[in-house]
Amino acid sequence: MSAIERAILALLAAMATASLLFLFWGASPVEVYGLLLARTWGDAYGFGQVLFKATPLALTGLAVSLAWRGGLLNVGGEGQLAAGSLAMGLVGAAMTGVPALVALPLALGAGMVAGGVVAAIPAVLKVRAGAHEVISTIMMNFVVVGCIGFIGRQGAYVEATVHTAPIAPSAAIPSLGIAGSAASWAVALAVCAAVALHVVLARSRVGFDVRALGAQAAAAEAGGVAVARTTAGLLLASGAMAGLVGASTVLGYKGYFEDGLGSGSGFMGIAVALLAGGRPLAVLPAALFFATLSHGALAISTLVPREIVDVVMGVVILAVGLSLAPRQGAAR
């Protein structure tokens, strides 16, 4: 079975599950799906919102995929993207009068650095003390949220609000202008990132090192891969990728950082990466798919509880997981 066939199968399974839930709720599946599609791909605004929602998912999905290919599970996307977004908001706000050619890269760079810094602690713990990155990145999520609250209240937030001052216009990423939707050119950034990551993984020496490390660390080490350096670098790069999420939310949409902005995409990025099997190019459709469900949820909430969509997303991941499972008797 090819990857595409598997994905379709998983999708069908999830749709069937959802249909049952809809029926149980007394809503016609046809009607619900119709509404879901009409409000997402069926109208310009909805499509724009899908693109907008897909961008953070793609970036965190790429972040998780990258680490995953090197044998690491980065569960710290939430913290990394929050830190990156705050940094983008603060640096963006400081860019008044600075031309876009300087302001935008600086703001983006600040987000990547902040995301990377958050990932640095798990990275150091991993290579120095052998600490499991799943646990340390989860802990970092909690720590970062606390730190952001502290920084915000110590003056980073506009008084009596939970958001920072607006960014300079030159640091803003232009909107795509799709029917008033929040979609911005940050979409292009995500696409470029996916392509770049794909090329690096498939064709570069570093990418080969990462793949070898992920497949079998001891053999990679014997093959000249600097395990500690590559592992640490990988986590940093993954954090930096997640730190880019603010490009879509802060620079491309809100124009400032707000407490909780973009949260949830770190966690969903894991699901996106899993659905994509860790392949950067497959991350893009996977992100679009989850974004469609996520935005469609709002539309169908008049007919059925919105949260059914969460269940559907879970079932999709489950179905993909099952369809990827090695068949009986196959080589281990």
């Binding site: 713990l125 646990i135 606390g146 699901a271 997981g321 099952l322 499972a325």
Partner: protein, 286 residues
């Protein structure tokens, strides 16, 4: 600290530790059998929800039972996918947690017409804290004994370390893993039930990441039920201290007090406890 405050603190530690300890012990069993325990969060949440439904219908005892069964149900689904469906444990864990999150909210709207919380349910009075805390610790002791002293425990360890070896000796690896994961679900579900019963109600996302912390405890406890329980209690103690300290500390330090448990975990991970070795076949299908 006066004696009264000390007692209050100890009771708080007991109360807070119950879900951590039960989930950590469950997680230890699951991982010792070779199945990644990433689904603890979903088990806790489902357990809490089922307990609230059960308690509303038939009182706290029914609630506790329903919680354990709800958690076990999640465990069964997870085990079916991982053990018989041969899916990756991490993937299934992520999926299960997402389904539990959405599923409890959907079910809440069905049962209570509210997406955010249940009505007040008959729960357990404050006096239960000590008993529940001790019972949870006792469970960890029983689990430790079962792992090291019984044939079942020997087999569980074997399938987690070297499933091929176990198979070659006629042991049904799938069945053992299935049982261990279902049991871990029941334990975590019971932990979730405590959350609901202690608070006389269920609220959306009630587990609040405790499943992940319990997983951290499993690792910090080096996959030993006793040490995992100890790690869980340490976690509860820092959390309790954090909550108690809030009553006396003010200002910007509060954020840092709230981070205390997580910071301590990071410090512990930084090598204070040394390196640990997971079960050799953890996460590997046969």
């Amino acid at each position: 600290m006066t004696t009264a405050l000390l007692v209050a603190f100890v009771l708080a530690v007991f109360r807070i530790s119950v879900p951590y300890v039960l989930a950590a012990v469950g997680g230890t069993l699951s991982e010792r059998a070779g199945v990644v325990a990433l689904g603890l969060e979903g088990m806790l949440l489902t357990g809490a929800f089922c307990a609230a439904v059960g308690a509303e219908a038939g009182g706290p005892a029914v609630g506790a039972l329903a919680g354990a069964m709800g958690g076990a149900g999640v465990g069964v689904i997870l085990a079916a996918c991982v053990v018989y469906g041969r899916a990756d444990g991490v993937v299934v864990g992520v999926a299960i947690n997402l389904i539990a999150l959405g599923g409890t909210r959907v079910a809440m709207q069905y049962v209570w017409q509210s997406a955010s919380s249940s009505p007040t349910i008959p729960g357990l009075s404050g006096g239960w804290a000590g008993a529940a805390g001790l019972a949870a610790l006792a469970v960890s002791g029983v689990a430790a004994a079962a792992l090291t002293r019984t044939a079942w425990g020997l087999r569980v360890r074997a399938v987690g370390e070297h499933p091929a070896a176990a198979t070659s000796l006629g042991i049904d690896v799938a069945q053992l893993r299935f049982g261990a994961v279902a049991l871990s679900g029941a334990l975590a579900g019971l932990g979730g039930a405590w959350l609901a019963l202690d608070n006389h109600g269920f609220v959306d996302r009630m587990s609040g990441g405790r499943g992940y912390i319990a997983l951290a405890a499993v690792i910090m406890g080096r996959w030993h039920p006793g040490f995992a329980a100890l790690a869980a209690v340490c976690f509860a103690a820092t959390e309790a201290a954090q909550l108690q300290l809030q009553a006396v500390v003010s200002g910007g330090a509060r954020e840092f007090i709230q981070m205390l448990p997580y910071l301590l975990t990071l410090v512990a991970l930084a090598g204070v406890l040394g390196r640990s070795r997971p079960p050799a076949a953890l996460g590997r299908n046969v």
